[in-house]
C-alpha cells in the first residue's frame, strides 16, 4: 500500500460516514456561554486572589500550595471534622455534610425512598413509580464540564475555590393531578474538583441548608469513584483514581462474587469518605470465579408467553436510542448499536416474549418519563425490518410492537438487552441514562 492508496482508501471510508448539516448556530450559542463562563470564572478568581492577599501571607502560602497534599504514609485515617450530627461525603477535596441517619443509594428508579445520599450507584432496576417523591436526596456526580443545566448558574466561592450554583428551583410535579406536590432542587459545581452536588427535596429549606454545607477541605481527599465518569467499575480504574488523589490501595480477592474478574465488590472506607492523603483504602475485588461471571446477576428466566410474533432467527438487530431535549442525560455508549451475536439476539427475543402484557383498559400513571427509549429493529436479509419493538426506558416502562398488547419491561429484558449491546456492566441505570437534574 502506498500513499495514494491510503489516501483513496481513507477517503472512501470517510465518505461512507454520514454527515449532517453543520450545527453552526448551536456551536455559536454554546461558545458564547463558554465565553461568559470563562469571563465570570476569571473575574471571580481575580477577586478571590485579592481577598487572599488582604488576609495575609499565611493564607497566600496556603493558596499557592498544590491542590493535592503530598502523601504521608501512615497518617491516621481520620477525616475533617463534620458538623454535629452529620457525616461528610465528597469528591476530591469538596464535601457536603449530610445527616448521620441518612442512608446511601436508598432509591427506587432513581427516586429516593428515604432521605439518602446517592453516590456511585450501581445496578438500579427499572420499575414504575406510583407515588410522589416525599424524601430528600443529595446526589454526587463527577462533572469535568459544566452540566447542561448550568446556563443560569451564578459564580460563588467556597473556601477560596471558585464554584457555580444554580438558582433554587421549585416545581409543581403535575404527574399526580389529584395530589400535586412540590419538588425543589439546587446544584453546586466545584470545577476544580470536578464535583457536582445536587440536592432535591420537597422542602426548599432542606435544599438550601444542605447545599450551604459544601466545603472544600484542603488537606483531605474523598475516596474516589469512577462509575459515574463512565469508566468501568474495575479495580484498575479505581486504583488509578485513588493514587491520583494520594491514597494507597490494598486489595482483597473475593472468590464468591458473581461479578467479572477485576470488578470492585466493596470499598472501605466507603466511596465519598474524606481521608488524609496517604491513608489506605481496602478494596474487595471479584476473582471472577463466582457463578455467572461476566454476565452480572441475571434475573431468573420466566415462562415464555405463548403468543409472541418475534423471531430470533434474524441476521442482526439494530438498537437505536433516543433522548428528549433538555434532560441533560449522559450515556456511556453510542446511540446506535448493531447486535449480530445469534445467542445474544435469542436472549433478547426470549426476554421480550416473556415480558408480561399490560392488561387491557389498564389505567396507570407514568411519572419520571424523561425520554430515553430504545428501538429494536431486526433484519433477516431484507432492507425492511422483520420486526420492530419500542422500549420506553423511563416513565411507564412499556414495550410496544409485540402483538397488539403493550407489555411491561422486566429486569431480565433490560439485562439481556444491555448484555447484547455490550454494555459492561449491564446496569439499568446506564440504559436509562445518568440524570442530572
Amino acid at each position: 500500500m502506498n500513499d495514494d492508496d491510503a489516501t483513496t482508501l481513507l477517503n472512501r471510508l470517510a465518505e461512507r460516514v454520514p454527515v449532517g448539516a453543520a450545527p453552526v448556530e448551536e456551536v455559536i450559542r454554546s461558545g458564547q456561554k463558554a465565553r461568559v463562563r470563562h469571563r465570570r470564572t476569571t473575574v471571580l478568581a481575580v477577586a478571590a486572589g485579592v481577598a487572599i492577599v488582604l488576609i495575609g501571607g499565611f493564607a497566600v502560602r496556603q493558596a499557592l500550595q498544590p491542590a493535592r497534599v503530598t502523601p504521608v504514609a501512615g497518617r491516621p485515617d481520620t477525616g475533617p471534622a463534620a458538623p454535629a450530627g452529620t457525616r461528610l461525603v465528597g469528591i476530591g477535596q469538596a464535601a457536603i455534610a449530610v445527616p448521620e441517619d441518612w442512608g446511601t443509594n436508598q432509591t427506587r428508579c432513581g427516586q429516593p425512598q428515604t432521605n439518602t445520599v446517592v453516590i456511585d450507584q450501581g445496578v438500579v432496576p427499572l420499575c414504575a413509580i406510583m407515588g410522589p417523591q416525599t424524601a430528600s436526596d443529595v446526589e454526587l456526580q463527577i462533572a469535568p464540564e459544566a452540566p447542561s443545566n448550568f446556563a443560569t448558574a451564578t459564580p460563588t466561592s467556597i473556601d477560596g475555590v471558585v464554584a457555580m450554583k444554580t438558582p433554587l428551583r421549585c416545581t409543581s410535579e403535575g404527574s399526580f393531578a389529584a395530589n400535586p406536590y412540590q419538588l425543589c432542587t439546587e446544584s453546586l459545581w466545584v470545577q476544580q474538583e470536578r464535583a457536582l452536588f445536587t440536592v432535591t427535596s420537597p422542602h426548599a429549606s432542606t435544599v438550601r441548608r444542605l447545599l450551604a454545607s459544601v466545603r472544600v477541605h484542603k488537606g483531605y481527599v474523598a475516596v474516589p469513584f469512577t462509575y459515574s465518569a463512565g469508566a468501568t467499575r474495575d479495580v484498575r480504574s479505581f486504583t488509578e483514581a485513588a493514587r491520583a488523589e494520594g491514597l494507597q490501595v490494598q486489595t482483597r480477592l473475593d472468590r464468591t462474587s458473581s461479578s467479572p474478574a477485576g470488578w470492585i465488590v466493596d470499598v472501605d472506607p466507603a466511596v465519598g469518605s474524606m481521608l488524609r492523603p496517604g491513608a489506605t483504602v481496602q478494596v474487595t475485588v471479584s476473582s471472577g470465579a463466582g457463578p455467572q461471571s461476566g454476565q452480572g446477576t441475571a434475573p431468573p428466566a420466566t415462562t415464555t408467553a405463548a403468543a409472541c410474533p418475534l423471531t430470533s432467527n434474524v441476521q442482526r438487530v439494530l438498537v437505536t436510542r433516543t433522548a428528549a431535549a433538555g434532560n441533560g442525560l449522559t450515556f456511556d455508549f453510542p446511540r446506535r448499536v448493531t447486535v449480530r451475536d445469534p445467542a445474544a439476539i435469542s436472549q433478547v427475543v426470549s426476554a421480550l416474549c416473556a415480558a408480561p402484557p399490560v392488561p387491557r383498559g389498564a389505567v396507570y400513571h407514568c411519572p419520571n418519563d424523561i425520554g430515553p427509549y430504545y428501538r429494536l429493529a431486526a433484519f433477516d436479509g431484507s432492507p425492511k425490518p422483520a420486526w420492530t419493538v419500542d422500549i420506553d426506558a423511563t416513565g411507564c416502562r412499556t414495550i410496544g410492537g409485540i402483538g397488539n398488547l403493550g407489555r411491561w419491561t422486566t429486569g431480565r429484558m433490560w439485562h439481556a438487552l444491555a448484555a447484547a449491546m455490550g454494555v459492561r456492566p449491564p446496569t439499568y441505570q446506564t440504559l436509562a441514562g445518568h440524570p442530572s437534574r
Binding site: 502506498n2 489516501t7 471510508l13
Partner: protein
C-alpha cells in the same frame, strides 16, 4: 460580527472533515459529531487566536485531537439530546451503522499513535511537518509511524473486504 461570520463560514466548511476525521480516529458516528462540535465550540471560544494561527487547520486538528484524547481518557461522553422525541419509526439506519462499524474496524487495529498519524496525513492531508506540530513529535517520528501503519493496513482483512465492496 465579522468574526462570527468568519467563524460560521469556517465551521460550515470544516464540519464534514472534522466529523469524518473523528470517525476515522475510532469514534462511532454519534460521538464523532459530538467531538467535532466540541472542537468547534473551543474554536469559537478562542476564535481570535485560531484566526491568527500560522496554520489554522493544524491548530484546529490539535484541538480535535486534544478533545479526542480527553474524552477517551475520561471515557465520558455528554449526550446531546435530540431536539424532539420521535414518536414514530425512524428510517432504517442499519447501513450507516454498518459503515461506521467498518470504519472503526478498519483502523481499530492500529495503535492510537499510528492511527492519529494516518488520519492526519491521509485524510486531513496535513504535511509531515504539520503533523509533527499537531502531535508535538519530531518529523522523523511521523515518518516512521506512517510507514509502520501503512505496512499494517496493507494486511488488514477488514480493510480488504470493504475495499472490495463485499461488505453487506
Amino acid at each position: 460580527m465579522k468574526d462570527e461570520a468568519d467563524f460560521s463560514a469556517y465551521a460550515g466548511a470544516r464540519w464534514p472533515a472534522l466529523v469524518r476525521s473523528a470517525a476515522l480516529l475510532g469514534c462511532p458516528v454519534a460521538e464523532a459529531e459530538d467531538l467535532a462540535q466540541a472542537t468547534l465550540v473551543r474554536c469559537y471560544r478562542e476564535w481570535p487566536r485560531v484566526r491568527r494561527a500560522r496554520d489554522r487547520d493544524a491548530y484546529v486538528y490539535r484541538i480535535l485531537l486534544n478533545c479526542y484524547r480527553d474524552s477517551h481518557r475520561r471515557r465520558w461522553w455528554a449526550e446531546k439530546p435530540a431536539g424532539e422525541v420521535p414518536d414514530r419509526p425512524e428510517p432504517d439506519a442499519t447501513d450507516e451503522v454498518d459503515t461506521a462499524d467498518a470504519v472503526a474496524r478498519a483502523l481499530a487495529r492500529l495503535s492510537p499513535a499510528n492511527r492519529e498519524a494516518v488520519v492526519l496525513r491521509y485524510y486531513a492531508q496535513l504535511g509531515e511537518q504539520q503533523i509533527a506540530d499537531v502531535l508535538r513529535i519530531a518529523p522523523g517520528t511521523v515518518k516512521s509511524r506512517l510507514s509502520r501503519a501503512l505496512a499494517q493496513l496493507s494486511t488488514d482483512a477488514d480493510l480488504a473486504d470493504l475495499n472490495g465492496g463485499s461488505h453487506p
